[in-house]
């Protein structure tokens, strides 16, 4: 995902889809079309107890991106500074090669303007020091945005501090 990741904390996700709606309003995505997509499994009953899980699927911003390789007019570019893959709408001729080439069909067809569009992780927001729209609205903080190293530090710290806290209370400190 370029130099970034969006991590889904399934425990916190309540399947509300605010992420998708914020993406649509920010990026003026036509109704019926979805850039960032939250995928929900369940709820389903497992031994009488309902369970569910979630995973957010934006564009992965691949290192060797199928869409870039497929575009006949060079309308899809990778930003050198952080590897974000984005479409230059002025150059797009609407051939849909990128939609077909992407293994997940992540580029979308914008019928209103006859061009492809895709998740660019809201790179204009990132340049302003903000999170992508999807992450910024998540009501529970289930979506987390950052660089892989930062996410790793945070998760390990949370895990370890929790564990240390428990062992402290066990030994009565």
């Amino acid at each position: 995902m370029g130099d970034y990741l969006i991590y889904t904390d399934s425990q916190k996700c309540v399947a509300c889809h605010a992420c998708e709606i914020a993406c649509k309003t920010k990026n003026r995505v036509p109704i019926g079309t979805t850039l960032g997509k939250i995928v929900i499994m369940g709820p389903k009953l497992v031994n009488g107890q309902p369970r569910m899980a979630s995973l957010f699927v934006p564009c992965f911003h691949c290192e060797d991106a199928w869409c870039i390789n497929a575009c006949p007019v060079d309308a899809i570019r990778k930003r050198s500074k952080d590897g974000l893959v984005h479409i230059l709408p002025d150059l797009c001729v609407g051939c849909k090669s990128c939609v077909l080439a992407c293994p997940w069909h992540i580029p979308q067809w914008n019928a209103a303007v006859g061009k492809a569009m895709k998740c660019d992780l809201c790179m204009d927001r990132i340049d302003e020091g903000l999170e992508p729209a999807c992450v910024s609205v998540c009501p529970t903080g289930a979506l987390q945005f950052g660089e892989p190293a930062t996410l790793s530090h945070q998760s390990r710290e949370t895990y370890a501090l929790n564990l240390l806290g428990r062992s402290q209370s066990r030994y009565g400190h």
Partner: protein, 697 residues
């Protein structure tokens, strides 16, 4: 040029504090107010608010009806024409039937003080709010036991150790702050027990889920109480001795209601009930048995809600960290006074104070007249009981789809001489109106300040983020201008929102500029909890938590009537209803993004029952009750109790002006019978018995 405006959402009634980014007078982004840590983000409804700023399907100017009711034939009017027309029609009708012939209904909001001022100014006692339909019996139950309304108490989600919810769908109704409080508590080990005939998202997030037989929640509570007090050490004896009135009556009353008895009634195994009682006892007093909202609305609701409060009291969790608490206001925070109210002015004496619903009077002596008993509206109109009703002001509230028995409500609306609607959309009642006075959308308007009572009381402000896109006005201005044309303008001493703010703040010592930085002013930094030994200020006659309620007994209602066994014909179902994260009641189905997310409702039906009726997933089925029938798509699943069918509230709109939601799904109001809790005042929305069959093609 970008700017950030701190304001209050109004996509639902929660009114979350939000931060709105505006560029060149366009709203470009909405997020949680960063000065409120639990506002980590916003819900989908708030995210979709942007979709309404330019929506051509909104009501774009005042309209006066020209064709038959509901025909969609309107003439555009100027504000002066529309207000003048409304006032002259009212004058004519009031000359014949008196001003009491007018009823005002609304969704409680920041202008409610001004709505009530309007009704006092024109001289009608007939005000009711959405609250009566949503939680009338919860309010009555709370006042009968604590002397406070449900609006005056809340739950300390963030510090709780165990929460028990009865259909209360916290993860789909989404109060952002409360939801995060609960998630934080759960990440620290708090348990969530969810009791619901249907698997909701809340059930899927719970530590333990019980698929209860519909309509039997009271039985499980009586059994929990039985375990708690018959095994003496499991409840908070000191708290009960100090603060509970009438424990002895409960002690003898609860005798027959054993866990084994409850198992037969509810389907929840006795050993699970005993286990739950032990767990909540261990977690006391950081326990929340949540008292509302929605879900499990049956005719015995008053007793069910009271039993919830009894459980909290037995565990000492009323006014405890991690339990329930009584909201604190400006005086608790050391201020001399709170926000000054327009409705506290003195008004002329009303010629007739009898209410259309008999609320606080003979029909519903202990329901709360501040909200009324809205479910009585169709009956009162159709039967002219207690007198003819001729005018309805439906202000941001849609009785047609909100009250049970759509056909009856429709007849009542047809009988009225004048319907005045204030709405942003073409809702059901709005589409039947004689005149529409379109309200400015919340992102485009400022409103009166909100007193945010709580553990840390604060005053909050809704502030306009951009200019109105259409020819609309805020409700506080519409009501003033209408009152002026009806000869009662003197009770509205303001021209601008700043005048209103300054009036409200005049006794507080707070300046309006104090709101600029964060959108709110906190009155204290420290949570205010009263002393549990001697400082609990219950507003009941005894000053205690009244298990035996003086309010009820005084009016001839028993505090402990025998539990009525729930009967159910084998070939029928109980229709239960609920909400999803995408929609607010009946109001948001036509929002472009929310309509895309959840465009229609389906009928959840148990897979085993469906099979025996030859119904397969996605089949069209017909559902029929004593109130009406309709068709809807079936969702066949094992995630619902065999006795229940479920549908989302608020679909099946018939208003051609709202094209996205037009005829999508089925209105629950079409099927629900007008059954009520005769004491508490709530409609029994989950009590209608229905037949379901495969629809003929």
């Amino acid at each position: 040029m970008k700017k950030t405006v701190y304001t209050l959402c109004f996509m639902c009634s929660v009114r979350c504090p939000i931060a709105v980014t505006v560029e060149d007078d366009e709203v470009i982004a909405i997020g949680g107010n960063p000065f409120v840590p639990a506002m980590k983000g916003i819900c989908p409804k708030c995210a979709a608010a942007i979709g309404w700023t330019h929506d051509p399907q909104r009501v774009q100017s005042p309209l006066i009806r020209t064709g038959p009711r509901g025909s969609g034939q309107w003439k555009h009017a100027t504000w002066d024409e529309a207000l003048g027309y409304t006032a002259s029609r009212c004058k004519d009708i009031f000359a014949r039937y008196g001003s009491k012939s007018a009823v005002f209904c609304e969704r409680v909001n920041l202008t409610t003080d001004i709505s009530k001022t309007f009704m006092n100014a024109i001289g009608s006692p007939n005000y009711f709010s959405h609250d009566t339909v949503c939680k009338g019996s919860i309010n009555t139950a709370c006042r009968s036991m604590l002397g406070y309304t449900d609006g005056q108490i809340n739950a300390d989600w963030a510090n709780t150790r165990h929460v028990v919810l009865y259909g209360r769908n916290v993860f789909e109704s989404i109060e952002v702050k409360a939801m995060n409080g609960l998630l934080d508590a759960m990440s620290k080990g708090a348990k969530l027990t969810c009791i619901d005939p249907r698997v909701s998202i809340t059930a899927a997030k719970s530590s333990r889920y019980f698929m209860i037989r519909p309509g039997t929640d009271l039985a499980v509570n009586y059994a929990l109480i039985h375990v708690l007090i018959k095994e003496h050490l499991h409840y908070d004896v000191a708290y009960v001795n100090r603060w509970v009135e009438g424990f002895d009556r409960l002690y003898s009353f609860i005798n027959p209601y054993t866990p084994e008895w409850a198992e037969a009634e509810t389907g929840i195994p006795a050993h699970d009930i005993i286990q739950l009682a032990k767990e909540v006892s261990e977690a006391k007093p950081a326990v929340i048995f949540h008292y509302g909202y929605r879900g499990s609305n049956h005719p015995n609701e008053i007793h069910f809600r009271r039993s919830i409060l009894m459980l909290n009291a037995l565990l000492g969790s009323i006014e405890s960290k991690g339990g329930l608490f009584i909201k604190k206001g400006p005086k608790d925070a050391g201020l001399k006074a709170g926000l000054k109210k327009f409705s506290d002015q003195s008004f002329p004496k009303m010629e007739d104070t009898r209410r259309f619903d008999g609320c606080g009077q003979e029909k519903f002596p202990i329901a709360d007249p501040a909200h009324g008993v809205g479910a009585m509206f169709p009956h009162a109109v159709l039967n002219e009981d207690p007198y003819p009703l001729k005018v309805l002001f439906a202000f941001r509230y849609d009785p047609l789809y909100s009250l049970a028995d759509w056909n009856q409500t429709r007849k009542a609306l047809e009988k009225l001489e004048l319907i005045v609607s204030c709405d942003i959309n073409f809702g059901g009642t709005t589409s039947l109106a004689d005149v529409i006075l379109p309200e400015t959308f919340f992102l485009e308007r400022s409103d009166p300040l909100q007193m945010g009572a709580g553990l840390k009381p604060a005053i909050n402000r809704r502030n306009a983020c951009c200019k109105p896109r259409f020819d609309t006005r805020p409700m506080w201005l519409i009501l003033k201008q209408l009152a002026e044309r009806m000869g009662a303008g003197q009770y509205f001493p303001y021209e601008t929102i700043e005048d209103i703010w300054n009036y409200q703040l005049s006794d507080t010592g707070i300046a309006i500029s104090d709101f600029d930085k964060k959108g709110f002013v906190t009155l204290t930094d420290k949570a205010i909890l009263w002393d549990r030994d001697n400082g609990l200020d219950f507003k009941t006659p005894s000053g205690k938590i009244e298990f035996v309620s003086s309010l009820m007994e005084k009016h001839g209602f028993s505090s402990f009537p025998e539990y009525p066994k729930t009967e159910m014909p084998q070939d029928r179902f109980r229709l239960i209803v609920g909400r999803c994260a995408a929609h607010t009641n009946v109001m948001t189905q036509n929002n472009p993004y929310l309509n895309e997310l959840v465009p229609e409702n389906v009928l959840w039906i148990n897979d085993v029952r469906a099979k025996s009726l030859g119904i397969e997933n996605n089949d069209r089925v017909e559902i029929e009750s004593g109130a009406g029938k309709g068709q809807i798509k079936a969702f066949v699943t094992n995630m619902i109790h065999p006795e229940a069918v479920f549908m989302l509230h608020g679909f099946g709109h018939q208003e051609s002006g709202a094209r996205r939601s037009y005829q999508k799904g089925l209105a629950d109001a079409m099927i629900q019978e007008a059954i009520m809790d005769p004491i508490g005042g709530s409609p029994a929305f989950d009590h209608t018995v229905v037949q379901v069959r495969k629809a003929e093609v």
